[in-house]
Amino acid sequence: MKNTIGKLFCILTTGLLLMYSIHGCSFAPDTINLGVAGAHSGDLASYGLPTVKAAEIVIKEINAKGGVLGKKVRLLVEDDVCKPEIATNTATKLISKGAHVVIGHICSGATKAALGIYKESSIICMSPSATNTDLTLSGDYPNFYRTIAYDDAQAQLQVNYATKILKVKKVAVLHDKGDYGKGQAELSKKYFEKSGVKVVLFQGVTPGALDYTAIVTKVKREKVDLVVWGGYHPEASKIISKMRKNRMKTGFMGADGLKDKTFIKVAGKNAEGAYVTGPRDVSKNPLAIASKEAHRKAYSSDPGAFFDSAYAAAQALLNAIEKAGSTDYSAVSKALKTEYIETPLGKISFDKNGDATGIGFSVYQVKNGVFVEVN
């Protein structure tokens, strides 16, 4: 018993000393402290760890070139296990260690929980992966930025394209009743109605059914300008083929679930002219190739989830500090919104909500058997 207490005392003292020493050196004025928060252990670690590696690679390169504002950049890594109740502690720890800006968090829930704490301390936070729409669009968190497209971005892009370029007045929204398909369809419906377009038909179909004659007949009777599909390609190719066989020329539009070569292969000439939104292809971007190569060299493996967007976030934050000339909140905020930077995602900046511009989704159209970008 006595022994145990003794051991415990020892551990506690060592712990305190250790904490003190970490605390002590983190206030060293000669470094720029880049915090990285996210899931680094637990079930969702594979979403968070690539971000740490991306930050390490960026910092190594920048430090090799002399750092930011003549100071070395230092990495502070904290784990939030993607849990909102832990994320607040994670944020507090990073702030007390002296983080100037933070990359993170990874999960939308944890990000939301932590943002209030960063906001109070005027710390800029940039997530490579939190897609919840409200994080930026609600306007509650002016200190929040992200290098990934938000959940509603695709639906908004669809609606914008349909109303501004195709000039549709009446649409039918169909879906496959699944989580993904129905979710997309509901977002499309919401934004179509917001922009004054009539959604005359909003219906689900059974995936794998023998045919979709009845629903196509129904769409035809409603005389819509565009059919918007939420779901995957097998049903979509059946529906669009049936439409064309019934001599309907109505436009057809789908989301990233449809941007699959199988759609064109299966629907063949019936797929011609269909509109599809999908993530912009960055695999040919020279910076993306270079960063991937750097990752292979450093960790002898291919990068994981959100690596490119995390890489871009680290670059954007450090670039903004360099351009702002300090780590001052308002100066860095201004730099983020005005300065452009070449990243693996392409040339990006940030809009007034904090969403990266020049990333995310594009509209493609099927032309001669391939998806062609038509923005």
Partner: protein
């Protein structure tokens, strides 16, 4: 009332119902003779479609003309499916003929899973484009949107198959033997009917109609994968029960009624609940006619 809309839904229902009927025939004939629900039947339909796809692709590459491709590919699909139907019966059901009925049912479910996975592994899990074997020719052009040539071909083919089958069962020797076996297998055996041959013939005929259904719908919808047999098989089984399992005209009627129910419900109410409604309708029919629309309640001798 919008008659054109009604007509389109009506014809769409017939097209869908015809396919259900072609597959339901296999369920109902097998059930009529050995009282087994052959769950692997939907897979026979899928194998028919796959065979037709493979043969058609090969023939297209070899440069055959359209008519030859349709005839040879459909013929091959029918032959291949028949061979599968025959083999399944010999392997999975015949050894269990005197076992409790539940054992044969489990064997049937096993066969269904086996065939699905076999096609998945031997072929692919992807959706494959299916060439439109039935040409989408121009006819009745201003009204072509009401019914396409392919739908017309499906309806006519089904009608011809039904008529041939009726003649076969009513007037041919094997047809008589089938009816006799269905009534009383032991008595038929005592009177010199080769029951094994009759059962094999039943499986072969059922598989042939399923293969025809498979080729027709695959070429109409333009895509297949290893899983297409499952849902359609269940629906066709429902059609067989709806019409009265064991009754051949019942299977046809059940298929059409199910096709119309789904088509009209999706057209006039909502496609969200199309399946739900189809099954509620089934329950409703079975409450009033427990043995199906045309089924006869057979009083068993004790």
């Amino acid at each position: 009332m919008d008659w054109e809309y009604f007509l389109e839904l009506f014809l769409g229902g017939i097209t869908r119902g015809s396919i259900y009927a072609l597959i339901a025939l296999g369920y109902t004939m097998v059930y009529g003779i050995i009282e087994l629900i052959n769950f692997a039947h939907g897979e026979i339909y899928m194998i028919g479609a796959f065979t037709a796809l493979i043969i058609a692709t090969v023939l297209t590459m070899a440069g055959f003309n359209q008519v030859a491709i349709v005839v040879i590919a459909s013929g091959a699909a029918v032959l291949y499916s028949c061979a599968y139907g025959f083999t399944i019966e010999k392997l999975a059901y015949k050894p269990l003929r005197n076992a409790p009925r539940l054992s044969a049912l489990i064997s049937a479910i096993g066969m269904s899973l086996f065939l699905q996975n076999y096609v998945l592994l031997a072929q692919t899990s992807d959706f494959l484009p299916f060439p439109s074997l039935i040409p989408d020719f121009e006819f009745w052009e201003p009204y072509a949107h009401i019914i396409s040539s392919q739908e017309l071909v499906i309806i006519i083919t089904t009608a011809i198959v039904m008529i041939l089958l009726t003649f076969l069962i009513k007037f041919s020797k094997i047809g008589k033997a089938m009816r006799a076996t269905a009534q009383d297998m032991n008595m038929a055996m005592l009177l010199g009917v080769d029951v094994n041959l009759v059962i094999s013939a039943t499986f072969i005929i059922g598989s042939a109609t399923a293969a025809i259904g498979g080729v027709l719908i695959a070429s109409h919808m333009g895509q297949i994968n290893f899983y297409i047999g499952f849902i359609v098989g269940i629906k066709a089984f429902v059609a067989a029960v709806l019409g009265g399992i064991g009754s051949i005209p019942g299977a046809v009627l059940g298929g059409l009624v199910l096709g119309w129910t789904e088509s009209f419900f999706a057209g006039y109410v909502s496609s969200d609940y199309e399946d739900v409604f189809a099954f509620i309708f089934l329950v409703f029919i079975l409450v009033f006619r427990p043995s199906g629309i045309l089924g006869r309640s057979v009083s068993r001798k004790v």
